[in-house]
């Protein structure tokens, strides 16, 4: 019998390197210091305290950011309440709509500036902020703008009305996009907003505050305040808030759910995930490999819906893993502002430590590690794309959300087996399926307990498409018609 020969590994060291292609930063405008955006103006924080926001790729300071204390939160909520009572809550939908359209347009006009700042403050590759984050954020405003005067058509036989003041807390992985996901539907449904961006990525939200001020949106309709966990806790605990929308970790989500138990505040939670990405033997393997790469290494793996648990059907496991390793070798890790960069900087030192801790746990658990041999920048927070082979369901690296470029790989034989394994986890945010057979796709997509299922694709987002989780990945949807519901009462 002829033995299967393993093909020679591809050789990428041709002596030709990519010339640097950095995006220029001289057209962006950044202040040295940012205050709190409350009632249509930037105001000093009551405690007079500031923190630094840094560029995770260079570890250099970008600006000083105000810390909002309880007093400031109260001021912001009052501004939002006043705007709700006097202007925004009463405004006809068609007028609200025009304000939101205007915000969308202004983001489009300033898209490149926002992209550059997003990459500087958060570490994501400029290709992603330029082609995904910022355009999607603008589109989200554009999409929800159009709903503002059509709400009665969305819910047959019911009369929807707004809730009041929404407190919104967002994470650092898609800073401007998450702000858009939160603000746009809240405004379209007639609510006013107090939003807090994440501690490590406040800049694009503050630039958005400038843009909103310039757009002529009535004062206090959107308030943007900065700070860390304490600021968020003060927002959640404020009695003048009617609605809380939180995107972040499952642990914090649970704390929020508990802390508002005795109130009538409405809640949406978009929490963690640990998505199964399932490759069947009949899948288009080269496309599937691209899907795996995109699923786990998109945005350095800082994605709640990342395809972090790979399941490969046993008889194609060897070939998929070989192709995957080869593809990983071609990934360029480095300067987020360089247009050649595939994987940028890890968002913060703290997050890098978390990821490295998990990589150590994976090794200790006995899984086999593989990392790409790419060169790494000397400064900044970076992490090599990492695979763990020979993992099993009980491994912590398989069960827990790592939020970094770390993929765990398991194999399977039957559909029943892979569905069981894919669903056997407290999370239920997303999943991926790769096969050429339509009936198999629908079998899988209907039995995977997850809010978003990508078939023969991965990590796709659109304002018209509802996003959100099952089980401990949270509740409520963002995007699409279903994304209106969390901001309305009937």
């Amino acid at each position: 019998m002829k033995k299967n020969k393993t093909p020679k590994p591809l050789n990428f060291s041709t002596g030709w390197d990519y010339a640097p292609a950095p995006e220029s930063t001289d057209h962006i405008k950044l202040e040295k210091q940012y205050d709190l955006f409350i009632g249509g103006k930037f105001v000093k924080p009551s405690g007079g305290k500031y923190f630094d926001t840094i560029n995770p790729a260079t570890e250099k300071k970008l600006a000083s950011i105000a810390i909002a204390e309880t007093k400031d939160v109260d001021k912001a909520v009052q501004a939002a309440r006043k705007a709700y009572d006097t202007v925004w809550g009463k405004m006809p939908g068609a007028e609200r709509s025009k304000y939101i359209f205007r915000i969308a347009r202004m983001i489009q006009e300033r898209a490149r500036e926002f992209s550059v700042i997003e990459s500087m403050d958060g570490g994501k590759p400029i290709r992603e902020s330029r082609d995904i984050d910022i355009p999607l954020a603008a589109n989200h405003f554009f999409y929800y703008a159009g709903w503002a005067d059509k709400l009665n058509y969305a819910f047959p036989n019911r009369k929807p009305s707004s809730l009041g003041v929404a407190a919104q807390i967002i994470p650092w992985n898609f800073p401007l996009l998450m702000a858009a996901w939160k603000i746009a539907p809240a405004l379209a449904t007639g609510n006013t907003v107090v939003l807090k961006p994440a501690e490590t990525t406040p800049l694009t939200a503050l630039k958005l505050a400038e843009l909103i001020r310039d757009s002529g949106l009535p004062d206090g309709v959107v308030n943007i305040i900065t700070g860390a966990g304490n600021t968020g806790a003060a927002m959640v605990g404020h009695t003048g808030v009617d609605k809380i929308a939180f995107t972040g970790s499952t642990d914090v989500g649970k704390l929020i759910q508990k802390s508002i138990a005795g109130t009538n505040k409405k809640l949406t939670l978009e929490l963690g995930g640990k998505a199964a990405n399932i490759i069947f033997e009949d899948a288009p393997l080269d496309q599937a490999v691209e899907g795996i790469i995109n699923g786990i290494f998109f945005n350095q793996g800082h994605v709640c819906c990342a395809g972090s648990r790979l399941f490969i059907q046993e008889n194609v496991a060897d070939i998929v893993i070989r192709k995957l390793k080869q593809r990983m070798e071609t990934l360029i890790i480095g300067d987020p502002l360089d247009k050649n960069t595939d994987i940028g900087a890890i968002n913060s030192k703290e997050q890098l430590q978390t990821i490295l801790k998990y990589i150590q746990i994976g090794k200790n658990e006995g899984a086999d590690i593989y990392q790409s041999s790419c060169s790494m920048p000397a400064k900044g927070f970076f992490c090599k794309p990492t695979l763990f082979l020979n993992t099993s369901q009980s491994h912590r690296i398989v069960q827990e959300e790592i939020f970094g470029p770390v993929l765990t790989i398991q194999t399977f034989r039957t559909i029943e087996e892979v569905i069981e394994k894919a669903n056997n986890i407290p999370y239920g945010l997303s999943a991926g399926v790769w096969t050429d057979k339509g009936s198999k796709i629908f079998n899988l997509t209907s039995r995977l307990r997850a809010g978003v299922v990508w078939a023969n694709t991965y990590n796709k987002f659109d304002p018209t498409s509802p996003f959100g989780g099952y089980k401990e990945s949270g509740f409520g949807r963002e995007g699409g018609l279903h994304g209106l519901m969390p901001y309305l009462k009937f």
């Binding site: 649970k254 978003v452 659109d462 498409s465």
Partner: protein, 291 residues
């Protein structure tokens, strides 16, 4: 000699069986003249946990049945209930209803089941969407059953409160464990007999009798319960439930009795998840073929 009546033993309903509470505990239910009507099971945490196992086991089968099939089964429940109307009226009356109110309550319950029977294969169309994404993908969102739902049904009504809390939940393909009214528990056990003879698979509806004050925290904290529907007004219990619910990010919905007795597809939607599916489309753009 007058014939001695046969009294019914009121037991609980778990996984299609009628066991007594494993705890062996009971509470006496008395009528208007303090006469003993029944020794009612005082269900325990363990009963609840057994019921959840039954509900979880039944979930895969029930949720994957066609809407049409579920509709026929709900309609069958209505048929069975209609046929035993007199028994329910009598039971409501010994629990304090006037003849008129009792008769209305049973009729309303039957009608509500018929109403939801009709929804079983229609709410999906109402709450689904095809989403016109800007990339070359086909994208749609559909409602899907949330899973196992624990229900604390209305204290005030023996039958209608129970039926109106169960119907929208099982219409949507969920399975449930229901705590019946403590002061008016009789109809719940008799209704379990109706379910048992209506082709409702065992475990889809499980009914316990007992005290909310004892059980609500377990209904809220159990890690294999996806959602809790609470149909009473006790503020302390509601706060407690919401606190416990965070353990597994359980969805909690509270209702006053009048909210639910009129029936609405939005009550079905409450215990649904929305699932969005993406698939690439090979080519998007104007078609080459013209007229």
């Amino acid at each position: 000699m007058t014939r001695l009546d046969i009294l019914k033993t009121y037991k609980i309903y778990i996984g299609g069986q009628f066991p007594r509470t494993e705890s062996g505990r009971y509470y006496p239910l008395t009528g208007r003249n303090k006469e003993l009507l029944a020794n009612v099971c005082l269900s325990s945490r363990k009963d609840f946990r057994n019921a959840i196992v039954a509900a979880r086991t039944a979930f895969a089968g029930w949720s994957s049945r066609s809407g049409f099939n579920r509709g026929q089964i709900l309609y069958r429940i209505a048929e069975m209930l209609e046929g035993r109307k007199e028994q329910f009226i009598a039971e409501l009356m010994i629990q304090g209803s006037t003849p008129k109110a009792a008769s209305e309550e049973v009729s309303c319950s039957v009608d509500l089941l018929v109403y939801y029977a009709g929804w079983c294969d229609k709410y999906q169309a109402l709450f689904s969407s095809v989403n016109p994404v800007a990339s070359s993908h086909f994208n749609f969102s559909v409602p899907e059953a949330m899973g196992v739902v624990s229900i604390i049904s209305s204290e005030e009504s023996s039958l209608l409160g129970l039926v109106s809390s169960i119907a929208p939940v099982i219409t949507g393909g969920n399975t449930c464990v229901v705590l019946a009214s403590e002061s008016k528990p009789l109809c719940s056990v008799t209704f379990a007999e109706v379910l048992n003879s209506s082709d409702v698979p065992g475990g889809v509806v499980n009914i316990l009798t007992g005290k909310s004050s004892e059980l609500h925290q377990h209904f809220a904290s159990h890690m294999d319960v996806n959602a809790l529907n609470y149909h009473r007004e006790d503020k302390k219990e509601i706060t407690n439930i919401r606190e416990q619910a965070c353990l597994n990010v359980k969805r909690v919905f509270t209702h006053s009795a009048s909210d639910v007795t009129s029936g609405s597809p939005y009550l079905i939607l409450e215990n649904q998840e929305i699932k969005t599916t993406w698939h690439p489309v090979e080519q998007i753009g104007p078609g080459k073929a013209g007229y």
